[in-house]
Symmetry: C2
Subunit: 164 residues, 2 copies
Amino acid sequence: MPTSPTSEPLTAASVRLPAELVARSGFLLVRLGLNFKARALEQMAAAGFSQYHYSVLALLDEEPRETQAQIADTLGLDRSQLVRILDGLEDRKLIARHRDTTDRRRHTVSVTATGRRQLHKLRHTIDRLEDELLAPLDQRDRDALHALLLQLAETHDPSCADPN
Amino acid sequence: MPTSPTSEPLTAASVRLPAELVARSGFLLVRLGLNFKARALEQMAAAGFSQYHYSVLALLDEEPRETQAQIADTLGLDRSQLVRILDGLEDRKLIARHRDTTDRRRHTVSVTATGRRQLHKLRHTIDRLEDELLAPLDQRDRDALHALLLQLAETHDPSCADPN
């Protein structure tokens, strides 16, 4: 690390976070979460996508025909935000909007074959980032971590709860 | 939940996140981390403090006399940001600045007795929030989670590494 003669040298001790913070699981969650989010956003942005594009495609891959209201509620987006996201996906032919046959004021949305191919690519990008994140853990520890995180998420965030 | 007759009812199914997202440890880390951060900021703000006030006081409690440069480097703050944080703490008599006897251009910073009492209060607030967060886990699972998070943090974020 280049240091000018007048700058105070960065010793190992001076860049170690307070032990009190590192001892907190909450602090580590925040720190790891923010770092991972930043990396994921950066990688998706490099491909011209946002986290919401990925979430919407993943949702439509599981629920083939959702109304705009359902998508917004599921992903916690406001309606105008969702409209912009869907416009971006529709412009690239990744989703299609359809007028609901039972209620013509409503639109349903589905993912196209092109959208499904793009979803595979985004999924691959996130898989790779998660592999990097979890690299220090063997499969057993990865499973243990996931089970623990899921237990917290299911308690604090019902939208993460398994319906079964 | 009140719903007007014309709104689409929010069924349990419509607010469940895509299984693909919930299956990702990276996603759960981000979601839990952001939620915890929001709660911690809110609670600290209610007491008139920010996360940085807490971090600075915790650091000075462990390293009694740090230069401003050391504090900024340790906590990853830029110098002008740190000056504002220290000004806020000094106005409330929670820290004291001293001119370094060996280099009069430098200032060292220490926590006052009042600052230490305030640190205890902030620590108590965060303890309570962490207890809420970790409530679904028994002590053994809490320890397991912490060890796993620490392993990730030590790999990806050397400032979290144990010096010993």
